[in-house]
């Protein structure tokens, strides 16, 4: 059936609202701050037979937009094999090779029946605080398989015909170090699904299933048309880009990530042929993650596009078999963030060759998962774990943002004072990193310097999972690259650096010793020679840029502009 444009526009908003309300329900109810504060979660409505994303909430984590359809597809396949899909069933799993991202993300998928017929799926994903494995919080930089990262739960029925299977709950809660937190998050996710069922029921009662289905189809078609219109407006051609991961955390060998971006009329191909094969350490990702990452990159380039699968129809994402972008079970995937950030970087760089004004230069490109842990004098263990920020890339509009969050996330950093109040540490520095921005007509944003001293008399151990220690974030459209990530730690004989640049385990720190993390600045946009000398002079006045660097990067003309 065709649908009138007014009903369509109203339904578009109403359905997006259902997903937004599901987000709001979980954020409010979740126990763990990764969901409650950093919003590392997502909800949506998915196609009954393909699992394609129909509608997704606006406030969840960007990477989930796209990856969730794989989680739903995994459930569809499972239900087809078992032949027992029923109204009131809810599936639960965290298997990253089936559902994308990493094992910390717990996925709940619920079929929605209308008048006895499967209408669509509702799903909820949230990052749990702990899901077992070798390292609390599940960031194990030296994992060589999934079992060392977390317990692995394939899709199983958490509820049958509306009855929660307490046996399954028991298994799940026995496999986490923080069962109370897990229970709270699970309840929150169930609550979000309940709300979605209620709201979708009301919507179907009001408009009729046929109209809503027609609207969903029309919205996907329109998203496809929007994407096609955008592609049509870009030049035809084929552009390549490559970048590297420093290493896999096990062996110090750089791992290439390559993309060829091809546009013909209203179609685009992203071909990652030439990317490194599956590696030993945890920078592998599963195929669903790779495809979803392409979506994140595309949505950053075209931010006004809606969040449904229609957007991706004109785009062919080709991931070579056997590469680290399609690693099979049980390859470790805990460090997936680093790999997908690099995928986004190369897509931006290739796109910049086609249409530079549509992209920003590369952001800092690593989440720098740093943990410092030890025992207090009363024997109680403590673990301080956080991700750290860096500079964003310059764009045609402006300089890059200083100290931003990663493109795959919207999470904020905890306040220094909260960390100091909770753990025996003191930040000597929490500051911008001068001379870290990539030069350009619009320079990159500055990275940051965090220097953290251990106050505990028993000392502490430090672990870092980072990247960009060997390859700096690139500029676009003639802009220069930012600076690399630099990590150092204090020992008796002075400052030392990790052999693998930005990945290290078990550094021993005595009381009074520090670690120092200097994060990358973003890449520049446009040739540095085109930068307004007045802007260079004010960067020097602010101390963003030293005199020498200013002259080296931009020539001497800025000195005349100095007020």
């Amino acid at each position: 059936m065709s649908i009138d444009p007014i009903t369509l526009a109203v339904l578009a908003g109403r359905m997006e609202q259902i997903a937004d309300e599901m987000d709001a329900t979980l954020f409010r109810a979740a126990f763990n701050p990764i969901i409650a504060e950093a919003h590392d979660a997502s909800h949506g409505l998915y196609h009954a037979t393909t699992g394609d994303t129909l509608v997704q909430g606006k406030s969840g984590l960007p990477i989930f937009v796209g990856v969730m359809s794989f989680a739903v597809k995994a459930v569809i396949d499972k239900a087809a094999r078992d032949g027992d899909l029923g109204d009131g069933d809810i599936y639960i799993f965290n298997d990253a090779h089936l559902g994308g991202t990493h094992l910390s993300d717990m996925r709940l998928v619920r079929p929605y029946f209308h008048d006895g017929e499967l209408f669509c799926y509702l799903a909820s994903v949230g990052h749990w605080h702990d899901v077992g494995g070798a390292v609390p919080g599940n960031y194990n930089p030296a994992a060589t398989d999934a079992f060392q990262e977390a317990f692995v739960l394939p899709p199983v029925k958490l509820a049958r015909k509306g009855e929660i299977q307490e046996d399954i709950v028991d298994i799940v809660l026995r496999n986490t170090r923080l069962p109370q937190s897990a229970r709270g998050d699970l309840n929150g996710q169930l609550g979000a699904l309940d709300l979605g069922v209620k709201r979708l029921g009301a919507l179907l009662a009001e408009y009729g299933a046929e109209t809503v289905r027609a609207a969903l189809d029309a919205l996907s078609d329109r998203a496809e048309a929007l994407m096609e219109a955008e592609l049509q407006g870009l030049p035809d051609g084929r552009w390549e880009a490559e970048d590297f991961l420093d290493n896999d955390g096990i062996e110090d060998v750089a791992l290439p990530i390559r993309v060829a971006l091809e546009i013909r009329d209203n179609r685009m191909v992203l071909d990652f042929e030439g990317t490194a094969p599956r590696c030993a350490g945890p920078v592998n990702i599963a195929l669903p993650t790779a495809v979803a990452t392409a979506y994140v990159a595309i949505k950053h380039v075209f931010p006004m596009l809606p969040a449904n699968a229609g957007v991706m129809r004109p785009i062919d994402v080709r991931i070579p078999e056997g590469s680290l972008l399609s690693a099979e079970f049980p390859a470790p995937t805990g460090g997936y963030t680093e790999t997908i950030l690099r995928m986004i970087d190369v897509i931006f760089c290739a796109m910049a060759k086609a249409a530079p004004e549509r992209v920003v230069a590369n952001a800092y490109g690593t989440i720098n998962a740093l943990s410092i842990a030890g025992k207090r004098s009363d024997g109680k263990p403590w673990v301080m774990f956080s991700f750290y920020g860096g500079g964003h890339g310059g764009s045609v509009e402006s300089d890059g943002l200083n100290h931003g969050n990663a493109p795959i996330s919207t999470a904020t950093i905890p306040p220094m004072e909260i960390l100091e109040a909770a753990y025996p540490v003191m930040f000597r520095h929490w500051a911008l990193r001068p001379d870290s921005a990539g030069a350009g007509r619009h320079r990159g944003g500055l990275g940051a310097v965090y220097e953290i001293e251990v106050l505990e008399e028993n000392g502490a151990e430090a672990f870092l999972f980072g990247e960009r220690g060997r390859f700096a974030p690139k500029g676009v459209a003639g802009g220069a690259e930012g600076t690399m990530n630099v990590f150092a730690f204090e020992q008796e004989d002075g400052w030392a650096r990790p052999p693998l640049a930005s990945k290290i385990r078990g550094i021993k720190l005595a009381q009074g010793q520090s670690v120092r993390l200097e994060t990358p600045g973003g890449g520049g946009y446009g040739p540095p020679a085109e930068r307004d000398p007045g802007a260079v002079a004010s960067d020097v006045a602010a101390g963003y840029l030293s005199d020498d660097e200013a002259t080296r990067l931009y020539g001497p003309s800025w000195q005349e502009a100095r007020a």
Binding site: N402, P414, M416, I418
Partner: protein, 685 residues
């Protein structure tokens, strides 16, 4: 000397509400806001209603001076003196970005890096001073900032919430050399953990001090010169009022002054009318602001962002804004979907019908085309008439032709999509607070909201809408009834087990003493004084706290502190309500103490506003064709203020007053209650 005046200065109009309680009379005035100095419109507005200023006992002001200075970045040049190693906290924010998608945009903090100076000093999280503050360095930094032309200075030291000593010494040294009063320490403004939020609030306060205190002093002087001998007070973002000298010292507390007064008034009007659960919707030119009142109480949020990276942490009435105002532009995207906003024509150039240069259709244009707004008498009185033809043309060109709709269908489509978005905001606001929206009434205020009230009943399933008698001056009315209120905070950061309750009691007593001193100093008569205390608490390991109200009594100004057991019980009750269940063996932790001291100001009887006489027949001033659904209806037009109490008007009908149009759609009924409000409900069939 019995008249009270509320003055709300908005972006376009300055509204004045005058209450003569003895005579049982109220009057309103609306004059254009003057810029950049708002005091011209302020005094002009009062003079319209009151010639002899000595007759005034109280003047209360809801101001956007602070908001505008923040949004337009027109505060003073100020400096910051901070802990060595932490110079960039203000600029680094909490590592966020302006928009989720697109990665574009940068950020300039209100204090440029060159004016943020570091000095040797360090306090640890437990309050231990690791490095004594270097006062010579502080004085040198202060002198450098003076030489650089700074008009205010903020001292921002790490962990000053735990021990303010280094800050206090630094500020004392600075006050000796600083040429004016604008020297502040973060521990004075907000002794609460979280350095970015504390530094930002303190720096933004300093940024506003020279400007806002200058403005308020000018106003105060002008009022006094005109013979005013009463009390001059300012509305805070928390919905309470404060004396003008306090506002000059704490201008950041006025950041949401105007809208807060509106919500306060809405709560009072709705509760008086028998609807303590109400969701307000203020529709302006560019936005629709939603706020929730449950059980007559407004919801306070602990902080807000005025703009990207400009965080203010002090209790504020929670207001959620979406970009769907009268000026929001309707457009069809490349996929053929109709969208409203986020682009807006605002009030200048405004809708196409204003004829001021915009040619893209807006929500207001749709209302004009469908006959819902009288083109011959535009509200606000700024324009002579509206250009209906231009509005029709814009809607046909930009929406109708692209969607294959005729003119009326296209205009209806714009309204349905806009209404659906506003309804979405209402649903989300209530769900985020854990309420079912259906139990609430909708209360539109501002100029445009009452055109959309019926649609909210339909879209959200609300039972009724309540249009206050003077929706266009709600904020000014709120000024007259707002209580005097001071909020205090102190970070405690300790486990509940073994909590030093004596020390806690001392801080509570200090908060009460300071709050009561302000009430004592006020000339205003208070009906009652109230104190309220809450602890931000959580289980150890949880960063999200819940606000736990404490059972504390204050006898003759002396705080009787709660015991550890009482606090534990209060926490368990609150936590269970928020999360359904307690955490077995969880360790309870106390993060912050929040205290509020309130002086209840006498409320006036809202029947003062009610119409005294009149008949429905006499109030009908004619009729015109108005489009609803898919056809034109001959629709009765009434002069709203002439309708008597008890009047019942079945839709379709339009009630007009100088600054508002109330739409009663077919199937709905409007009834004038005893306060002069219009209650809109469905006609029972």
């Amino acid at each position: 000397m019995s008249r009270m005046v509320g003055v709300d200065v908005g972006g376009t109009f300055t509204d004045v509400f005058v209450l003569d309680e003895a005579a049982g009379k109220a009057s309103v005035a609306k004059v254009p806001t003057t810029r950049p100095d708002q005091s011209g419109g302020f005094l002009d507005g009062i003079s319209r209603e009151v010639s002899d200023k000595s007759e005034l006992s109280v003047v209360v002001h809801g101001t956007t001076a602070g908001t505008n200075a923040l949004l337009e970045r027109k505060g003073a040049r100020i400096g910051v003196i901070t802990t060595a190693g932490l110079r960039d906290v203000l600029e680094m924010r909490r590592r966020d970005r302006p928009r989720t998608w697109g990665l574009r945009g940068d950020f300039d903090p209100v204090v440029p890096r060159a004016l943020r100076l570091e000095v040797p000093e360090r306090t640890l999280a437990d309050g231990t001073i690791r490095t004594q503050v270097d006062l010579d360095a502080v004085r040198a930094a202060g002198q450098q900032l003076i030489d650089d032309g700074c008009l205010a200075v903020a001292v921002l030291f790490a962990n000053a919430y735990a021990n303010p000593e280094n800050e206090t010494r630094a500020v004392a040294a600075l006050r000796e050399i600083w040429p004016n009063a604008h020297v502040s320490a973060s521990s004075e403004i907000l002794p609460e953990i979280r350095e970015f939020e504390r530094f930002s609030t303190t720096a933004l306060n300093a940024y506003l001090q020279p400007e806002v205190s200058g403005y308020l002093t000018r106003l105060d002087g002008a009022l006094r010169d005109a013979g005013f001998g009463g009390e001059f007070m300012i509305v805070q973002s928390n919905g309470g009022v404060m004396p003008v000298d306090e506002a000059s010292r704490m201008p950041i507390r006025t950041a949401l002054s105007g809208p807060a007064a509106g919500v306060i008034a809405a709560g009072y009007i709705a509760t008086s009318a028998g609807f303590p659960d109400v969701i307000t919707g203020d529709m302006g030119g560019t936005s629709f602001d939603v706020s929730l009142i449950a059980g007559g109480e407004t919801v306070l949020s602990p902080q807000t962002s005025i703009d990207f990276g400009m965080v203010v942490r002090s209790p504020m009435i929670e207001i959620t804004t979406i970009g769907a105002g009268g000026g929001s532009i309707a457009w069809v995207d490349k996929g053929g979907l109709l969208n409203i906003g986020p682009e807006s024509a605002g009030s200048t150039p405004g809708p196409v019908a204003y004829g001021q240069g915009n040619d893209r259709p807006t929500v207001t244009d749709a209302n004009v085309v469908l006959g819902r707004i009288d083109p011959e008498n535009p509200i606000g009185g700024k324009l002579e008439r509206l250009d209906v033809k231009a509005a029709c043309h814009a809607i046909e060109t930009h929406v109708g032709e692209k969607l294959g709709l005729d003119l009326e269908q296209a205009a209806e489509a714009i309204l349905r999509v806009a209404n659906s978005r506003m309804a979405g905001a209402i649903r989300l606001v209530s769900i985020e607070r854990g309420f079912d929206p259906k139990r609430f009434a909708f209360m539109p205020f501002g100029g445009g909201g009452a055109l959309h009230a019926g649609a909210m009943l339909d879209d959200v399933g609300l039972g009724r809408a309540l249009v206050p008698r003077y929706p266009g001056v709600t904020s000014a009315l709120g000024c007259v009834i707002a209580d005097m209120r001071q909020d205090f905070v102190q970070t405690v950061n300790a486990m509940l087990e073994g909590l030093d309750t004596t020390r806690l009691a001392r801080v509570m007593q200090d908060h009460v003493d300071r709050g009561m001193a302000l009430l004592d100093a006020a000339q205003t008569r208070f009906e009652a004084r109230e104190t309220g205390f809450a602890l931000d608490m959580a289980y150890l390991g949880q960063t999200h706290t819940v606000s736990v109200p404490l059972p504390v009594t204050v006898e003759n100004g002396t705080v009787i502190p709660p015991t550890e057991t009482q606090i534990a019980e209060a926490f368990d009750a609150t936590y269970r309500e928020a999360y359904g269940r307690l955490l077995k063996d969880g360790v309870r932790r106390v993060m912050n103490l929040r205290s509020a001291v309130t002086g209840k100001r006498p409320k006036f009887d809202l029947t003062t506003l009610a119409p005294e006489s009149g008949t429905v027949e006499a109030a009908q001033k004619g009729s015109r064709r108005v489009h609803f659904g898919n056809q034109w209806h001959d629709t009765a037009i009434y002069t709203r203020l002439a309708l008597p109490v008890g009047a019942v008007i079945d839709g379709p009908a339009i009630l007009e007053q100088p600054d508002t149009t109330v739409l009663i759609e077919p199937g709905l009924r409007g009834e004038v209650d005893r306060f002069g409000n219009t209650i809109i409900t469905r006609v029972e069939d």
